[in-house]
């Protein structure tokens, strides 16, 4: 019995009335993968940072803006105390260098079932839709993005890009190739599965807070 793989590929080729593609055609198609075709993108004139903030807020995300990385702990502390959260957080190891308040319990492991707050570094922001791009790595575990009720994401203002395609280009330039998981996050978790009514906090974070870091 021939393999399912061969049967399916043969059936696909037969459906087109041909055999395997010849070498030149394959090379042309491969070049199309190596050099992606540039498609039409939504045009906008708005300032990238202003649009990023406006779009994220329209999707129920909240934002604090700080001057330099030194301002991060205070901004996270304001968010934490405003929502009455315990001084305990799962912090991506990518943010180890930050001087967290001494009375906080910080860990850099994956998020456990009882985790209520995480702090994660964003790779980029996308102004088009107010979207954050987070890359899975030992420095930024994926569970931090989905398990806790509250997530704070740290984003450098200089990392706000125009379109999704600009974020892909940045990703391709980075060493190490495609991360195991790329999470594009646009606001807190939501559902409209009961009577089409939007409800935040379905399974992922109920609150999503972005600390936008301007270069000091």
């Amino acid at each position: 019995m021939s393999s399912a793989r061969e049967d399916i590929l043969d059936a696909v080729r037969r459906a087109q009335g041909r055999g395997s593609r010849d070498a030149p055609t394959r090379a042309t198609l491969d070049a199309r993968i190596t050099t992606p075709v540039r498609h039409l993108r939504p045009a906008f004139d708005e300032d990238l940072t202003a649009r990023f903030i406006r779009k994220l807020e329209s999707r129920s995300g909240t934002i604090a803006r700080v001057d330099g990385r030194a301002g991060i702990p205070a901004a996270v502390e304001i968010f934490r105390s405003a929502h009455g959260l315990a001084p305990r957080a799962a912090v991506g190891a990518g943010l180890k260098d930050i001087d967290w308040p001494a009375d906080w319990t910080i860990h850099h492991d994956r998020a456990g079932i009882a985790e209520s707050l995480s702090v994660s570094p964003a790779f980029a922001g996308i102004a088009e839709t107010g979207t954050l791009m987070l890359l899975a790595s030992p420095e930024s575990p994926t569970t931090h993005n989905f398990v806790p009720d509250n997530q704070v994401i740290i984003l450098e203002t200089t990392r706000i890009l125009r379109h999704f395609e600009d974020a892909w280009a940045a990703l391709r330039k980075r060493t190490g190739g495609m991360p195991r998981a790329v999470n594009l996050v646009s606001g807190p978790s939501r559902t409209a599965d009961i009577e089409q009514t939007i409800q935040l906090g379905a399974h992922g974070p109920r609150r999503l807070h972005v600390v936008l870091v301007d270069s000091a």
Binding site: T129, T143, L171, A181, I194, P205
Partner: protein
């Protein structure tokens, strides 16, 4: 899932008389349509994007074998495994074998229409596994023991009261009635399940040849918890889901979110590439993709090839007057509405779903909103033609169609008949101009009167009035 499309007519009648269903459908219909319209109006590039997406999908289908091979190579390079399934039974076997090999007990699932198509849940449960649907809509219908009635809003047919009843029975009292409380209850009930899961199964909206990634979009985050916390992640996807690059996927994402839920973007778009890597603190130990053919390569060969452009947004059913009146269950299988009326007969057989292509008014709204410009009404008409050719159409209908052809292809005879009919109907209508009962059209006149024609045909009037001017 067993197909019940042969019972379309009685099920449609029952749906029309189901008060809860009608209440739920009323709420859903306007929401979907209005939200999409707002987003489409805000993006001046929308029409141009539709055309590009159509062209791109056609390009992928022309070279599907090559892109599938490239995708497979990229998955393997990232440490993942690709499995090929010719049909539903083979896909079920592949997934069951993986579950057995890793000694799985609990399987969590993100929303996957392909898993419905291949009847996966029943197979897993029969094998003694605990299967937990994690999308809120899917969770609701799993509790109800029902199939999805919509491809992106599976529980759209349920009212809040019905969800309250189901949750009270499943989770115990007190009875919750607020939507926020119901959502919280599901969140709580599913939380431990994600952490217990041995295998997490999700669908794949797109498969990217450039990187070997599978891509899912969700709003709840359930798909991400499913695939991140289970020991093994299995992706199920149709072979037509592959796209060449990340940029190509983006083109479709812009159309998908707007067409499906009327948003600029869904909350979560996630690309998964292979299993957990050295040093990673989380993520699955194994990553599998099951590529499912199940009739797709056959579709590629014939006149229905365009159906393979479908990106499963659900806009066609949201805008369909038939779907809007009867909901998804009457269609009797996994895919309802216009796209389902094309796919079901093609996957399950023309006679197994005889009524579906015929339950369409050919009003064309579905085609006008389809983000990849599938000419759904043309495909439905073509299916009717195939049914006629294969003599699946009932003898009575075949005779009626033959009589119609006799008339319609002879203009003189046609106009004579038309004049006769116009006068006869005007006479039946009498002074009121309304016909209460018409032999042969009893179903139509049962619910309303037929306005009688004025006695003369349009052509007659045209000739008289043009002569006067």
């Amino acid at each position: 899932m067993d197909i019940r499309s042969r019972e379309f007519q009685p099920r449609a009648v029952a749906a029309l008389h189901d008060a809860s269903l009608q209440q739920a459908l009323d709420k859903a219909r306007d929401g979907f349509v209005a939200k999409r319209a707002v987003q489409v109006a805000e993006l001046s590039e929308f029409e141009a994007l539709r055309e590009t997406a159509k062209t791109l999908k056609d390009h992928v289908l022309d070279h599907l074998d090559h892109y599938l091979e490239r995708y497979e190579a990229a998955v393997v390079a990232a440490g993942g495994q690709v499995h090929w399934a010719r049909d539903d039974a083979e896909a079920r076997r592949i997934i069951l074998d993986i579950c057995k090999r890793v000694d799985a007990r609990t399987v969590t699932k993100g929303k996957s229409m392909v898993s419905e198509e291949i009847g996966l849940n029943t197979a897993l449960i029969d094998a003694g596994l605990t299967v937990v649907e994690t999308d809120l809509g899917e969770y609701i219908i799993q509790l109800a023991g029902e199939a999805p009635s919509h491809i992106i809003a599976p529980a759209v047919h349920k009212t809040r009261e019905q969800v309250s009843d189901l949750f009270e029975k499943a989770h115990g009292g007190p009875r919750l009635t607020e939507i926020a409380d119901l959502v919280d209850a599901a969140r709580l009930a599913l939380r431990e399940r994600y952490f217990q899961a041995d295998v997490g199964i999700t669908g794949g909206n797109f498969l990217i040849a450039e990187t070997g990634s599978s891509l899912i979009v969700t709003n709840e985050g359930n798909g991400d918890l499913t695939q991140t916390l289970a020991r093994v992640h299995i992706v199920t996807a149709g072979i037509e889901r592959v796209v060449p690059t990340l940029d190509d996927a983006t083109l479709f994402l812009r159309l998908l979110a707007r067409s499906a839920t009327g948003q600029e973007t869904e909350t979560y778009t996630t690309l998964s590439t292979g299993p957990r890597r050295a040093g990673d603190l989380d993520g699955p130990e194994e990553y599998h993709v099951v590529l499912v053919d199940n009739g797709r390569s056959r579709m590629l060969a014939g006149p229905f090839r365009q159906m393979l452009r479908c990106i499963r947004c659900g806009a066609c059913m949201n805008h369909c007057p038939v779907y809007g009146s009867i909901g998804g269950h009457a269609y009797g299988w996994v895919y309802p509405g216009p796209m389902g009326s094309v796919l079901t007969p093609l996957i399950k057989g023309l006679d197994a779903a005889y009524d579906l292509p015929n339950a369409c008014t050919l009003n064309g709204r579905c085609a006008s909103v389809c983000p990849v410009k599938i000419p759904l009404p043309d495909l439905l008409r073509r299916l009717r033609h195939e049914q006629f050719k294969q003599a699946i159409t009932t003898l009575r209908r075949r005779r009626a169609l033959a009589a119609w052809r006799l008339l319609a292809t002879r203009p003189k005879l046609y106009h004579a008949f038309e004049r006769l009919a116009a006068r006869a109907l005007a006479a039946i209508g009498g002074r009121a101009g309304r016909i209460r009962r018409l032999p042969g059209a009893g179903g139509w006149t049962e619910g309303r009167d037929l306005p009688a024609p004025p006695g003369r045909t349009f052509l007659e009037r045209w000739q008289t009035e043009r002569g006067q001017s």
